[in-house]
């Protein structure tokens, strides 16, 4: 599986990671899914609702914000494709905690932010057995058109 994304949307994800630094920033990926392709067409940056003391290593979106994402996706004729979040001063690989809270069929984009600068994003999918993540290749496309 490949996750298609435009440079512009990727930059918005990186900007959110840098804005939230040294805390974790997060949001939802909206887009569409066809046979062997998942395309990110929009992102929704959302507040990290974890308490102040935990936001440097935890993120959580409120159920109301998640619903906002579903509604916006529906309005635009899209799906919620997944979640993006940043790992301040940590590698862009999913952690054990990420796995325990992960949903199947979602793309999880993780960006490592080092010294306030977003470095690189990688995308991950939870296996059906929930036992681990496998990496999903991110392909930068010119535009989100067909």
């Amino acid at each position: 599986m490949i996750l298609e994304i435009t440079q512009g949307i990727l930059e918005r994800i990186h900007a959110q990671g840098e804005l939230a630094y040294p805390e974790e920033g997060a949001g939802l990926l909206l887009g569409d899914i066809s046979e062997n392709r998942r395309r990110v067409l929009d992102v929704l940056t959302l507040p990290n609702v974890r308490e102040d003391s935990a936001r440097h290593n935890r993120y959580q979106l409120s159920p109301q914000d998640y619903l906002k994402g579903e509604e916006q996706a529906e309005r635009l004729g899209m799906d919620v494709l997944g979640v993006f979040h940043s790992h301040p001063e940590h590698p862009n690989q999913p952690s054990e905690f990420d796995r325990q809270w992960a949903w199947p069929n979602f793309s999880y984009i993780i960006t490592n932010v080092i010294k306030g600068k977003a470095i690189q994003s990688r995308s991950w999918r939870l296996t059906e057995a929930r036992s681990n993540f496998i990496e999903e290749k991110i392909e930068i496309v010119e535009s989100a058109k067909d």
């Binding site: 959580q60 979640v83 952690s95 054990e96 905690f97 199947p104």
Partner: protein, 259 residues
């Protein structure tokens, strides 16, 4: 096919909204008709229609997984009567995913210094025949378990780390199994200390050596028996034991992934 879930007195029908990530299991359907007099029956009706959903919504005891929120007419059922909440004709149920994550990390240097202190002090206690020292080690371990830190972690934190004698080894790991392992060791050592005080030396020192052996297995081999027991209890879905071993790690072994 789901006749056994039907409430014979009133066949209450409701709609249930499925979030994006679960629509693979409902053939793409965003809304499913369900029936039942309570939320629990409606959910049973859902998984009877779409069995692949079960493992993503419920644990082995039939309890909702913690990252699954259920809303009845826009109200979280945790604030109502949970799964026993009654539903009325044409109610709207909704599954809302909890979206969360982040970094989990355990400084294994603190844990290993703790083990080294437990081994060292217990051996001194044995050689010099000092039951009070066994009691002291047991007390520190009990205190650490209650405070959710390695009991002798302060030696690492205040002395060894600032002096750069022991470097931090931060691993992507769950702290809970290590706390459980320490608590288990604390209980065994406390019984050992009591046995020594009341004069059953063989039993007392036997238990002390059991704790030394388990701590040494962890310190030198990287296998935490208490953690393995924790993961085994979690697999049996015993309440309170919720964590599963880190990815690609044998339950109880020290994880490889550094963060």
């Amino acid at each position: 096919m789901y006749i056994r879930y039907r409430n014979l007195e009133s066949e209450t029908m409701a709609t249930l909204k499925i979030p994006s990530p679960l629509r693979t299991y409902t053939a793409g359907e965003a809304v499913v008709e369900v029936e039942g007099a309570t939320v629990a029956q409606a959910m049973e009706s859902l998984v009877a229609q779409h069995p692949d959903l079960r493992q993503h919504l419920f644990n082995g005891h039939g309890e909702l997984r913690p990252f699954v929120n259920l809303y009845l007419n826009n109200e979280d059922i945790r604030h109502l009567d949970k799964l026993a909440t009654p539903i009325q004709q044409d109610d709207r149920l909704m599954i809302v995913p909890s979206i969360a994550g982040g970094i989990s990390q355990v400084d294994h240097s603190a844990i290993r210094v703790n083990q080294a202190m437990i081994i060292g002090l217990s051996m001194i206690a044995f050689v010099l025949d000092l039951p009070w020292l066994v009691a002291l080690v047991a007390f520190v371990m009990v205190a650490g378990t209650i405070l959710k830190v390695p009991g002798f972690g302060f030696v690492y934190r205040i002395v060894l780390k600032p002096l750069n004698l022991v470097k931090p080894v931060i691993l992507d790991d769950n702290p809970e199994p290590h706390r459980f392992a320490q608590g288990f060791g604390a209980v065994v050592l406390t019984i050992g200390a009591v046995a020594l005080v009341i004069g059953t030396g063989l039993l007392g020192w036997g238990l002390v050596w059991l704790v030394i052996a388990l701590a040494a297995l962890n310190l030198f081999v990287g296998f935490c028996v208490g953690c393995a027991v924790y993961y085994w209890l979690a697999r049996l879905e015993i309440p309170g034991f919720v964590k599963s071993p880190p990815q690609e790690t044998f339950p109880g072994m020290r994880p490889k992934a550094k963060v």
